[in-house]
């Protein structure tokens, strides 16, 4: 019962947010294009780089493009439903969060439905399009089990990103401006999570598995599908379980968020 009302609240609020965004027609189309263009840049970059150099860290274009596509599809699963989280630090700074606390709806739900991130539709378009194209071209013999694993991996990756961003929202209650941090997380994931992450050396790779768990977003599950788990300095069973990391990261992020929320202080006027 409680869960049903949650979902209903989400749908009602998100629909209102979407309506608000659709007021600006020109912006709608340019934003959609912007989403495709921004993420497409990275694909173009990988294409130009590998067109010139052939391999990176022993991986060719078809494998790297597949990782890229998985990453973007995961990103879409974060940014379409939860993208509005990025407004949190502004709301905390301007004191708009006061209003959130006064309403009888879960604060996290209100933050998430604060605005519908239009650009995310562009991400989704390109992400799932790329996954279809590069999944087809990737050196993987697709079976129903592997397709199931791919779906789990993409959902897990989306949860990892949502968890990281939720963690930053929690941080914004004590740090006022987390803008740089979030942009950094976003651009690091965009720029670097498409590479075979083991190429940066062991220490950096382990940091990507723990401190900043970017490796779980697409690289680790992709090694399972591409049959390259031997590249990874982790036991194969652990690599195979990587889609589960999403749940863990999200629960950690959300717990941190709820622990930090009472420390919110309304800015004086």
């Amino acid at each position: 019962m409680a869960e049903q009302t949650w979902l209903r609240q989400y749908v009602v609020l998100e629909r209102a947010a979407l309506r608000a965004q659709l007021q600006y027609r020109v912006n709608f189309w340019t934003t959609l294009m912007g989403g495709v263009a921004y993420q497409g840049t990275q694909l173009l970059f990988l294409g130009v780089l590998l067109g010139k150099f052939g391999l990176i860290g022993g991986w060719g274009f078809s494998a790297v493009a597949f990782v890229f596509a998985m990453r973007l599809a995961s990103h879409a699963l974060y940014v379409v439903p939860f993208g509005a989280l990025r407004l949190t630090d502004e709301m905390v700074r301007d004191g708009e969060f006061d209003r959130v606390l006064l309403r009888p709806v879960n604060p996290f739900l209100q933050l998430v439905t604060r605005m519908f991130p239009l650009m995310s539709l562009g991400d989704a378009l390109l992400g799932f399009g790329a996954l279809a194209v590069f999944g087809w071209q990737a050196p993987v013999d697709w079976t129903p089990a592997k397709i199931g694993y791919l779906i789990l991996a993409v959902v897990g990756g989306g949860l990892v990103e949502t968890g990281i961003q939720t963690f930053f929202c929690g941080l914004s209650f004590v740090a006022t401006s987390t803008f740089s941090l979030r942009i950094f997380a976003d651009s690091s994931i965009t720029q670097f999570s498409g590479y075979p992450l083991t190429m940066f050396g062991r220490a950096t790779f382990y940091a990507f598995c723990t401190l900043f768990p970017m490796a779980f977003i697409s690289f680790l599950p992709a090694t399972v599908l591409l049959d390259r788990t031997s590249d990874v300095p982790l036991p194969t069973w652990l690599t195979t379980l990587s889609p589960l990391a999403g749940v863990i990261v999200f629960v950690l992020g959300y717990t941190f968020f709820t622990k930090m929320m009472p420390r919110y202080t309304s800015p004086g006027s």
């Binding site: 912006n27 934003t31 912007g34 263009a37 921004y38 840049t41 942009i183």
Partner: protein, 268 residues
């Protein structure tokens, strides 16, 4: 208002812009850490891509690595995410107060943007220092090249600021500008050559990129600094920057003339 007063007002806007960056210390520190990590990873990527390979298209590993490091730093100074407060001011109606100020709106915004850029200079310096420690930087081939690249950096910054202002002006018509800004951001990230130098782009792509204003922002100063573009060619690139400064100033003036009749003050 006399010219001296106007200059003083402009300086005031610049100072305010710088302060708006420096006041969020935590943000600045994370920004610096983020840039350092980005520079380190960019250096790693290019070293791995080359790994023992000789020059590709006449560019050796040292030059490509130095390019990646400098371009990342330059981009973080020139093109941060929130460059201008103009779109926000138009949307929430603050624009009304701005328009009553004795200094023209364009100069106010320009002053503020310049301030933000100056405030972010230390970030770029930290990034470059780390690149130097990692042995990724090289010196310019001579004094002339070094000096010219400095001129080109200023030129690039001017082109970047003017383009940014023109894109922000779109808000007068659409109220929401995050879309156009994203397209612009795409333009500046890839087409300016900050992700990958123009040398490595296939002919068709390079041909089109050379006709756009973005390459003047990052590619021009860095390739002159590294001595990849020399002599007459280097001077020609700086000339192209100048043309873009003039063209975008004219365009900005035209857009602003129309925009001022579109001002709708929102809220009360």
């Amino acid at each position: 208002m006399s010219t001296a007063d106007q200059v003083r007002a402009f300086r005031g806007m610049t100072r305010a812009g710088t302060r708006s960056v420096l006041i969020y210390r935590g943000d600045l520190i994370t920004g610096a850490v983020a840039l350092v990590i980005q520079v380190v990873l960019a250096i790693a990527v290019w070293r791995i891509v080359y790994s023992g390979r000789g020059p590709v298209d006449g560019v050796d590993a040292r030059t490509a690595v130095a390019y990646a490091a400098i371009a990342a730093c330059l981009q973080s100074v020139l093109l941060p995410w929130q460059f201008s407060t103009l779109p926000m001011r138009i949307r929430n109606g603050q624009i009304a107060t701005d328009l009553t100020r004795p200094l023209g709106l364009i100069w106010q915004v320009f002053g503020q943007n310049l301030g933000v850029l100056l405030g972010r200079l230390p970030l770029g310096a930290i990034g470059l220092a780390v690149a130097a420690v990692l042995g990724a930087l090289t010196l310019p081939p001579g004094w002339a090249a070094g000096l010219l690249s400095l001129v080109a950096t200023v030129g690039g910054a001017l082109v970047a600021m003017l383009c940014n202002l023109i894109v922000s002006m779109v808000t007068f018509w659409t109220f929401e500008v995050s879309g156009p800004l994203m397209v612009y951001r795409f333009g500046s990230a890839f087409l300016s050559g900050s992700l990958i130098p123009l040398w490595f782009m296939p002919g068709w792509l390079r041909g089109s990129v050379e006709w756009l204003p973005f390459q003047a922002q990052v590619y021009t100063p860095v390739s002159i600094y590294l001595g990849q573009t020399r002599g007459g060619q280097a001077l020609a690139l700086v000339g192209v920057q100048l043309v873009w400064v003039v063209l975008s100033t004219v365009l900005l003036e035209l857009v602003w003339r129309r925009a001022r009749y579109r001002v709708v003050v929102q809220g009360g």
